[in-house]
Symmetry: C2
Subunit: 198 residues, 2 copies
DNA sequence: ATTATTTTGGACTGTTCAGTCCATAACTAC
DNA sequence: GTAGTTATGGACTGAACAGTCCAAAATAAT
């Protein structure tokens, strides 16, 4: 019966996601958002409700995408220790940087900008961090079982340490610390991780 | 000759600093700023020029204060290893949290929000990170000489690792990760740091 | 073709934004 | 006290803000 929607919601959401990723929430105006998404104001509000709801939807999408990509990465038939090292190094690979250089991680950016002032956004951030930490702990455990990661740290502690590593790296990236120093931090940290015990 | 200023510039700057620290740059309006500083619009502009210049001045002040406090902390006559542990743990001490709970570190917040889009602010951030990294490297070296820190890592690598540790922690604080997990991350990381070698 | 339904563009709202400006108040030096 | 200088409060600016609303266009089913 009805006239059907002319744009793809997920594609529009991806564009919104990129806009928030590039400039942050407050600094992204509705004008920026509409231009990035290629939507008129009424289509935007009809579909997403408000700027803040669009951000929440974008966060969910980012989180799902990121987790799916991470799971895929770790499903390769390669020693877990190697996969882990590659995964962490991926976070400072300029070639892998979307949507542009030095935009960091959307979750980290939004956590810093908004999480303490908006509990719904905090929940979205926390949910992603929890999923990621749980998956990393599982992965470390798999590495232990497989033998590529020496049994030492409690896997949940190792996972939190990795979480902290990538969060810190994303901040230093934005702060302009040189890539070779970031690479050194990662190398040293990975060595620590695979040697230390509780 | 002239009528003299009725407010204390440094005190006003501290209030501006707190406002930016609590809400970030974009989300802090001139109204917020004037209310926090107790200044009228004309006094503010006469004295600080613009919102952005006020932020730059606040960043400089924060950096100087933070570095001075850090230097003082490490001047105590206690083994460097202990001072270092206390210094890192201080960053998650709720009692030491100014201006409020979960506001993180001003430099980290601003680095994430603005550094990639404003080179002058990036310079201010970089300057602080460089000062801090240099001081930490020096401190680790002192710990090596003194014997409280085993000679292992290159001190500059150790310093970058510490920098990354506290940056990551500030993000996770804002993201709402539980204090006991943050404490565990710090404990494990410190153990790593004092054991690993290049 | 007509009708029912929904998207769409764009005009419009009132508010808030950072920043300017000036008349007045306050103070110092004489 | 008076003259000279500067800080101050508050009115004012135009632009940008998020969000509303409606008439017109487009589609699908009958």
């Amino acid at each position: 019966m009805p006239r059907c929607r002319e744009f793809d919601i997920d594609h529009a959401l991806d564009q919104a996601l990129n806009a928030f990723w590039l400039k942050g929430y407050e600094a992204t105006s509705m004008m920026d958002l509409m231009a990035a998404m290629g939507l008129s104001k009424s289509s935007f509000y009809e579909c997403f409700g408000s700027k803040r709801e669009a951000l929440l939807a974008a966060l969910r999408r980012y989180s799902e995408r990121e987790m799916a990509e991470t799971r895929r990465h770790f499903s390769a038939d390669v020693p877990v220790a190697e996969l882990l090292a590659a995964w962490v190094r991926h976070s400072i690979d300029p070639a892998a940087c979307r949507p542009s250089q030095r935009c960091g991680c959307l979750i980290v950016n939004i956590a810093v900008e908004l999480a303490p002032h908006d509990s719904e956004i905090e929940d979205a951030v926390r949910h992603h961090l929890d999923m990621l930490a749980a998956f990393l702990a599982e992965t470390i455990q798999r590495g232990n079982a497989e033998g590529s990661i020496p049994v030492g740290l409690d896997p949940t502690h190792g996972a939190d340490l990795l979480l902290n590593l990538v969060a810190g790296i994303q901040v230093l990236v934005k702060g302009g610390v040189e890539p070779h120093r970031l690479a050194a931090i990662i190398d040293v940290q990975l060595k620590c991780l695979f040697v230390t015990s509780d």
